[in-house]
Subunit: 303 residues, 2 copies
Amino acid sequence: MARKTKEEIAAIYQKMQDYICQELTISDGDGKFVEDKWERELGGGGRTRTFSGGKIIAKGGVAFSAVYGPTPDKILKKLNLDKAEFFATGVSIVLHPASPMVPIIHMNIRYFEMENGVHWFGGGIDLTPHYIVPEDAQHFHQEVKEVCGNYDSTYYRKFKSWADDYFYLKHRDETRGIGGIFYDRLSADSEDHFEQILEFSLAIGRLFPKVYGHFMKKNNSLPYGEKEKTWQNLRRGRYVEFNLLWDAGTKFGLETNGRTESILLSMPPLASWEYMQSPTEGSEEAFTQQHLRKGIDWLSFER
Amino acid sequence: MARKTKEEIAAIYQKMQDYICQELTISDGDGKFVEDKWERELGGGGRTRTFSGGKIIAKGGVAFSAVYGPTPDKILKKLNLDKAEFFATGVSIVLHPASPMVPIIHMNIRYFEMENGVHWFGGGIDLTPHYIVPEDAQHFHQEVKEVCGNYDSTYYRKFKSWADDYFYLKHRDETRGIGGIFYDRLSADSEDHFEQILEFSLAIGRLFPKVYGHFMKKNNSLPYGEKEKTWQNLRRGRYVEFNLLWDAGTKFGLETNGRTESILLSMPPLASWEYMQSPTEGSEEAFTQQHLRKGIDWLSFER
């Protein structure tokens, strides 16, 4: 069995976008996705879908792209390569809910290939609750671990730790949220292995609407007031800080003339900043602040 | 006459902070500055003053610092220098007004010295109106030009163009605002010259409350509604993007373990993002969007 071509992978990822949009529309109940097709001058393009009029989702997008052309100099230099054509395809999602009781979620699956045979997969799924709820964190990590375990027994442990390191705001010494998994430069050493990694990425894709649908359903009806909205906007400010200061994908995209509107789809609808803001001792906000730490085993965490 | 020592400059800059805070408190009429003194582990410290309860100023700070110690490796590498002690002092301000009709303003004056004799001044003042008003832009640039002209006939032209290049969002192909002046690594070649550059920085410091007081008085009573508030938050989003993505000072500070809360004092109280937001043709918002361009001569601009 020959391994799938880059075009086939792009077609599969595009279908994944359809599937995810369909499922999220059902989970939200009110809103719908609006599609924005775009083309890239140097080759390829994408379909950016933003959610509009949602009951639960305030702002968010599910973006698919398949781009190709001369490999940007930055990558060539980093990989110490001569000129080469590249092909990259992926699905990327960030959803900001209206309710502070529903977490922010991010998911990305991507495939990169160069004409010289170099190829890799990357991606991940991670959760950024405005309020950390240990049972929710446990549920999320349990689901992610289960998917990982179906493909490789080392994936969860390795990629969970990678997410902790990646989604980290060095200038605050805090993580973006409760993490999840992150992986990059995952190359196959056989055709079977290639299919296995591809299937793993698709399993993450399918997990996304399932696990987020769970939180939408479970948490959206929870009561909240001004205090929680204020905290939500502060946490969204941290989300902005991470994405603009530390996220390698965002930086790389903006520095290599990527499509700004697609890259910044991850920005929240509203965010706020306050000097020396610090939650009241013993509050739920303080509990969250104290648990934005690397290395927490959410599977066995007890409050 | 011997040139002033670094300690004397720090003392003068500290007094400048007092002066500016005093003047801004009068101009606002309602609020007051709250001081937060801090010390730096490796040497020195600062007085961060944030404005609270303001009628016109929604969020802002006037920060003074004088820090010293071993020069960060990043600087040594950049300057190709061996180990050396450094001393840096300055006043840094960003003010975000409540009204979208009042511009955001930024001012900074700073002095840097190393034990090996290397020294320089840096700074500038620039305006980011939510709505560009040509008469206001002209007034601002006229005042800045006049101050520059008192010290060096080449300053305004050179530093205006530097500000255009510096306060630029490459990923949006737009400037942060209408600019002003920006200068860095300004070294003296004689004691007189040193005093002249120092005096120039103080003149900018004094200009700050004068020119901003003018806009507070003139624009704060202008009417506005939801449309203008929405636009203001979007423009504040761009301010966040510039500061976190492109501002060399912010990046440098956060990467060298600077004091996060002081560095991010520049963040707005609230900011928003919208996918593919584009102002209606012919609107005031569109006029502003179209004039966030380098190289506009605001002194002779006619609408």
